[in-house]
Symmetry: C2
Subunit: 342 residues, 2 copies
Amino acid sequence: MGITIKDIAKIAGVSISTVSLVISGKGYVSQATRRKIQKVINDYNYRPLRSAQQLASNQTGNIGFITSDVHLSRSEAFYSRILLGVELEARNYDYNVLLSTVGEGTNIPKNIPRFLKGRDVDGIIIAGSIPEDLLWYIHDIAIPVVLIDYRLPDLQHDVVMMDNRHGIQQIVQHLTSQGLERIGFIAGSKNHPSIKERFEGYQITMEQFGLGNFARAEKNHFLVMQETSSDIGTEGIASILKNEPALQAVICANDTTAMGCLKELQKRNFRIPQDIAVVGFDDNYYAAISQPTLSSVHVPKIEMGVEGAKLLMDRITNPNKIYQTRTVPVEVVVRESSRVTT
Amino acid sequence: MGITIKDIAKIAGVSISTVSLVISGKGYVSQATRRKIQKVINDYNYRPLRSAQQLASNQTGNIGFITSDVHLSRSEAFYSRILLGVELEARNYDYNVLLSTVGEGTNIPKNIPRFLKGRDVDGIIIAGSIPEDLLWYIHDIAIPVVLIDYRLPDLQHDVVMMDNRHGIQQIVQHLTSQGLERIGFIAGSKNHPSIKERFEGYQITMEQFGLGNFARAEKNHFLVMQETSSDIGTEGIASILKNEPALQAVICANDTTAMGCLKELQKRNFRIPQDIAVVGFDDNYYAAISQPTLSSVHVPKIEMGVEGAKLLMDRITNPNKIYQTRTVPVEVVVRESSRVTT
DNA sequence: ATTTATTATCGAATCGTTTCGATTATTCTT
DNA sequence: AAGAATAATCGAAACGATTCGATAATAAAT
């Protein structure tokens, strides 16, 4: 079928190994032969066969990307964008990206990505939460791993996170600077590390602004275990308002939740933001076109993927490095839903 | 490093080739030896190394998934869901999925997915539009290809589409059954085959309902080349209303466009659906939670991916089969934005 | 009971690279 | 100018599977 390195060598009148050296850029090859060989390669449009390279070099040139099926099909395209970032960066290293989704259920071994069994990848990136025992399984394989927007307290890994605490801090600051003080908090999937950090950020910052009493009162939060959905916002705001009718603002742990919140408030004829200000987190596409437009914290998803890929490449070439956590900066985007003063 | 087929053979006391036969399920192996070998394989948790299999068998066990970067990061997760479907189905065949995005720009050869150059995949799936010359390039490689939600008139391929015409037909029927007759149409990226079919569906059905005159008048459509965005809806409805103030309903070629349309109408204090009914297409997540909730046509995205993967597997094992077009059914979901009568 | 067909097992070639060590050619030291 | 260091090239052994053909064992046919 295809043209092989052997053909190239014969045509160029050199040995196979010299051609290989030219391709990989390793070792010593004289300018003259290098050019000669390169010309033949170009002329015949030759590319080495990956599987042969893989077998001989014991490197696959592939990385695996694992995320849950639910995450991948999320409407906000949050993890899709992270995947995109990974793909973009992997390309710079001439790596392929293999995708595998896993169910939320904890069904090992059916859940185990095929590329792990066949030793098809040099390293993997895990985006978002996956079943804990699967993470342990992967950990035990001793393959380079980078986690994006996820982590387990008792497991050491390279990790990429967004700056959740600082994002919330900016929000609280923005709200209080407008004189709002009774600020509630709503979140789903509270076991997720990002959500946890956002809640902690809320508590810490409120404390700093002298609003610790309000922030500590349980009636002013709504935290549940469910997967992110707009229902959480709907239920959440209802629950808080029941006990705290004088609420002035509410921070939702993400935009989808905020959307549900918005909807419920409108149904009850609250004016937003005059009666209650609402802010989300993530800065979805829909934040910018919802009615009213939603203030949020912009998270650079693609960059998170890029950073993750870089970290992974680093770890693959340098397996004994100390583990790193990389935190990408975020920024509040103020829109109609929280702009009280003009 | 890892355990090899040689080790298994030695431990089981058989030849390498017999072990291979057990793994692949081909040829003749007695019950007794089969069990014996299988036991060793299980005990040692052995998996054949893919790259070695690939090299020896000249099959990769991989499929490539190509989509544009813009499509993948789309907020509606339309193509992410198709990807998910492909992944789910590929798993049933024990195939890996390699992902590559391509820029919208037409920069061959930088745009060429790496897995094509290294002959890393047995076939590829292309979801959504990609630069035309890239499609020609792929066509020339003569590798099995399936297109999902895309096609080129003068290029033969296996194709998966949604039933755009019938979806629109259902919409028009739904609207006219409520007495609405002056129904406009708004779409972006009008060169996309799905959008084209939706527009054709609009024209044909309107004709069937005796509303051909209205549907044929250019002032009642807004068709532009831009990529899908909510701005198209905003501009579109403004444009149509200028020439046709008595508009009763508008069909948007997708939900995102409809969102922009909704927003503009609300800004102008139109009541929806009493003054103007709005429907979208695709049935996004946000269609169900927007204000008002948006009527739309549900498209089973994951199933489209599944169908695509099936078609591709079929073509890989059977390269000379006649080309197929598979059309998945769609269904109107009526919500607040178009429910005039109660 | 011999021939023929079927089932079972194996040895060896093969797939297309990388890489190690050997060999030769060139350049640098003193 | 001889020996040492460096640069250039090559041959051959891996890498870990598949697969073809040969051979041996068993079953079926006459």
